[in-house]
């Protein structure tokens, strides 16, 4: 709205400057007309009073539009003054129309009201007085100033005031529309440019993040390969154990790099909607995590998927969440139970997917439930993770406008319940 205010202010200042010239012109015209019938006192007094009224109002309330309404009245008074000065010369009535036309410049139709009212009153009053035979009125030189001619005059005059008012209104309306549109176009162009720049910056950052993660992981993978070779070729149980320790550390560091990468992706990237095939996704995750658990015991992963309704959401984000939760379940299994398992249930309908990930692992204390989603929070000193995993899960779920709840008891197990909105019908 700012550019419109700015524009109104400009119109006001420009019109005000013009009015100074017009008013001077009206005053001088009065003096010129004074020569015809020797009406010097009228020209000086009435003219001065009019100018005084206008400039005084403008001086007292410069910010309000009051002086413009006074101006409108002043034009009517000048008309009356000229009619009188020229002893009712009919053409002097046109002065009212000149005044009315001048007022268009303010682009305010209401300014026509004072001049219209004043002209009608003046017409009616002076016409009536002259008709009644009062002398020295000098309203008109015509003989037939009866009621019907009065009505015709007033109607035409009103029609002109109405037209001038209409133009004022239309000019204002269309100019405002034009300004609004150009402002909007300018704004959109800026927004487009910003979006483009943001997109480019995101792509650059993506390239950087993937480049860095690759360069961090590459040497790690080389170490891992050499460790595997060493482990396979030695018969020394101590060395085997050391290699196992190195591998543990490699996995931790690698998981950490992946977590950071996923965090950075989640924080920046837009939601990329696509069909989600829970069956395929979970099978892949299961396959990838197969070698994860303890060497001596496997953790059974059970999948129950009831996904009859098509489900749409951000596939890669859901995969990050499920990967994190399932690998946690494997990582924190309970060594004292015989049948370590993770059970993943997925039920989808039109509105959402409800996913539960339930294990019989070591569990988490009730007091800690509120803290597990915090950044770098680690449940126990035995936690092998970086403290980013569940934080990332929560951030990602938030991004998907979903919900996550935990139910866990130490020694019994942990269950996470996820509600993820289905975007299928919201296209």
């Amino acid at each position: 709205m700012l550019p419109i205010n700015d524009y109104s202010q400009q119109v006001k200042l420009k019109s005000d400057r013009m009015m100074n010239h017009f008013l001077a012109g009206f005053f001088i015209t009065g003096l010129i007309f004074a020569g015809f019938y020797d009406t010097w006192i009228i020209a000086l007094c009435v003219g001065s009073i009019s100018l005084f009224a206008y400039y005084l109002t403008k001086y007292i309330w410069p910010e309000s539009n009051a002086y413009q309404y006074v101006l409108s009245g002043v034009f009517a008074v000048f008309m009356a003054q000229y009619i009188f000065q020229m002893h009712g010369l009919f053409e002097m009535h046109f002065v009212a129309f000149i005044g009315s036309a001048i007022l268009i410049t303010y682009q305010n139709w209401k300014l026509q009201i004072p001049i219209a009212v004043a002209v009608v009153i003046h017409h009616a009053l002076f016409g009536y007085l002259q008709f009644m035979g009062m002398s020295s009125i000098y309203f008109t030189q015509l003989e037939y100033m009866d009621l019907s001619t009065f009505i015709i005059h007033v109607s035409f005059a009103s029609f002109i005031f109405f037209l001038c008012g209409l133009w004022s209104y239309n000019i204002k309306k269309y100019t405002e529309q034009f300004i609004k549109q150009s402002y909007e176009i300018g704004r959109l162009q800026i927004a487009d440019k910003q979006r483009e720049e943001l997109c480019k910056a995101n792509m650059e950052l993506d390239k950087f993040v993937y480049g860095v993660s690759h360069d961090l992981r590459a040497p790690l993978k080389s170490i891992s390969g050499i460790v595997t070779i060493t482990e396979e070729e030695t018969t020394d149980p101590a060395i085997k154990e050391y290699m196992e320790m190195i591998k543990g550390s490699i996995t931790r560091l690698d998981d950490f790099i992946v977590d950071i990468l996923n965090y950075s992706r989640n924080a920046r990237a837009e939601i990329r909607e696509s069909d989600v095939d829970f069956e395929g996704m979970l099978k892949d995750i299961k396959e990838n995590l197969k070698y994860m658990g303890d060497d001596h015991r496997m953790v059974n992963i059970y999948l129950n998927i009831n996904s009859k309704k098509p489900f749409r959401s951000d596939k890669s984000r859901i995969s990050v969440v499920l990967n994190n939760l399932i690998s946690n379940a494997i990582r924190y299994q309970n060594p004292s139970v015989t049948d370590a398992y993770v059970e993943v249930n997925v039920i989808t309908d039109e509105t959402e997917a409800v996913i539960t990930i339930k294990d019989n692992g070591i569990g988490i204390n009730k007091e800690q439930h509120a803290k597990i989603f915090e950044m770098f929070y680690r449940v126990t000193e035995n936690s092998v993770g970086s403290g980013l995993g569940l934080y990332l899960v929560k951030e990602t779920i938030d991004k998907l406008n979903g919900l996550i709840q935990i139910d866990s008891e130490p020694g019994v197990g942990t269950s996470f319940k996820l509600n993820i909105p289905n975007l299928f019908h919201q296209i």
């Binding site: 993506d206 993937y210 590459a218 993978k221 080389s222 891992s224 050499i226 070779i229």
Partner: protein
């Protein structure tokens, strides 16, 4: 030594990292994966080798293990150059890309390329070699069927 049997006659490894080439060739040697392993530290050199030997079937590898991110010419640029070589050469060898990149763009590009049979994560393991063996036999099975 003479009586040893190998799964493949010739395998090519293209990787700028010496230690990764070592891991790959060592693992192959341990599993009798190939009688001969040709290693290149630059994709350019591998292209020159393939160009020079395009008409000598016995010199061409059955398997090419290709790294993605390499200086000068990366894995995808190598594949572009390779596509200019005769069809028979491309049909005879099975290409597997190997990288530690997590960039989905790399995975997608590899998957879209019909010459690449699989995108694998480093380091090359015995399980990977098993999979490559299976991919190769599947690949040649379908080749025979289509011919």
């Amino acid at each position: 030594m003479e009586t040893e049997t190998f799964i493949f006659k010739k395998v090519m490894i293209i990787d700028d990292t010496k230690i990764d080439r070592y891991i790959a060739s060592h693992t192959m040697k341990k599993t009798n994966f190939a009688r001969e392993i040709i290693e290149f530290d630059l994709a350019k050199k591998a292209i020159v080798y393939l160009e020079e030997n395009q008409h000598l079937p016995e010199a061409l590898p059955e398997i090419i293990i290709l790294d993605v991110r390499m200086p000068e010419m990366d894995g995808f640029q190598f594949l572009e150059r390779l596509s200019l070589l005769p069809q028979s050469l491309k049909q005879s060898c099975c290409i597997v890309m190997l990288s530690s990149s997590l960039d989905p763009a790399d995975h997608d590009r590899a998957e879209r390329n019909p010459v690449v049979k699989k995108f694998m994560n480093k380091p090359l393991s015995k399980a990977n070699l098993e999979e490559i063996k299976k991919l190769y036999s599947d690949f040649h099975q379908t080749e025979k069927v289509s011919v």
